[in-house]
Amino acid sequence: MKYVNEFRDGAIAQRMASEIRRIVTRPWAIMEVCGGQTHSIIRNGIDQLLPEQIELIHGPGCPVCVTPLELIDKALAIASLPNVIFCSFGDMLRVPGSSKDLFRVKSEGGDVRIVYSPLDAVTLARANPDKEVVFFGIGFETTAPPNAMAVSLAKKQGLKNFSVLVSHVLVPPAIEAIMSSPINRVQAFLAAGHVCSVMGYWQYPPLADRFRAPIVITGFEPLDILEGIRRTVTLLEAGEAKVDNAYARVVSFEGNRPAQKILEDVFEVTDRAWRGIGTIPQSGWRLSAAYREFDAEQKFQVSGIETQESALCRAGEVLQGALKPNQCAAFGKECTPRHPLGATMVSSEGACAAYYNYGRFITLEKSAEACPVP
């Protein structure tokens, strides 16, 4: 496939890793924010290709993982209602709520459907005027424009039986929260390429400057990730807290303006609770006043939700990069993709699922702890 295969060349990957080995002089801790990149790194063994001095810390960029438990429980309650068709991306169906998951709701008779695109949910609403169609609208800035377009089209088409359960999260406030944490070890970031394809990267120079941390916009194929790391290490070694773009074939500084315009119209910024992490101020989007009629939380007043997390699950520490998945006592024992205790073991982007699926049952001990940025 064009623009995929050529960015997976093994021989070039080896040479790029050699180049990184040549330029690195000391330990560095780099966080890849996006769960898609975590999977690419573990699946392709990129972390094992790198020199020992470089530690990759896996970030919280997995929307399925950080969707708050209370909202999952609300989704379960709404999906259980008669006359509701509940639509979701496939990833969400096995995410454990307090007592069950969406698959269980489906097996109990709930009309739960997996959709490929949010527009499929709009089509379902048009085809089923006597039913309430609810779409579980989660995701980072990459998924927000598709979800916003679904709401916008539903409004244009005058659909009254379509609503969205919204839990959108934003990358820059998460970077800010990670860098401000007293337990932070991250010295630089690989920024999520597809988030930036929508938002551009004009939001990042102030963050790089404030936290003295290089930020490099990075793609998803193995060569893209190695190039992101190479540029990050180059900046770290030079002591330059700059922003660089290693994914220029898809990302521009200003991003996708038509998408940003509709996001401003459909959503407004709000505080958002991140599962396992806690509330991060101004870190999410909810529907703006003009689109409140499409808000499933308003439409279906679900009450009496008492959330209960697994006592064994340490997903919060994994999401903040404080713990590697295989350092958790429940990893691969009580907690597997078949019987997940936390969302990080479910999602195709969760760090725990990546470690489990690609056989990372033992941690590679790093010889040296990364040093703080001077």
Partner: protein, 91 residues
Amino acid sequence: MCLAIPGRVSEIFESHGALMGKVNFGGITKTVCLEYVPDIRVGEYTIVHVGFALNRIDEESARQSLKLFEELGVLHEELGEDEGAPNEIRE
């Protein structure tokens, strides 16, 4: 979730008030919303996420990246300055 796949636009049309198109992903064709890339043309490449084209792929930039990757480390290898064995995978 943020997975997005490159494909080639093969058809552009309108449906239910939205700009749509057919995009070919190495032989598989899907219907994709083109509202966010309104000036894209048939034959151009785009990056698609949950049924939406998010951006056009800059083919010149892709060529430059690949050229850079191919050249990386080659000079040092030729001069014998490479410190690590290129095929060694750390245990």
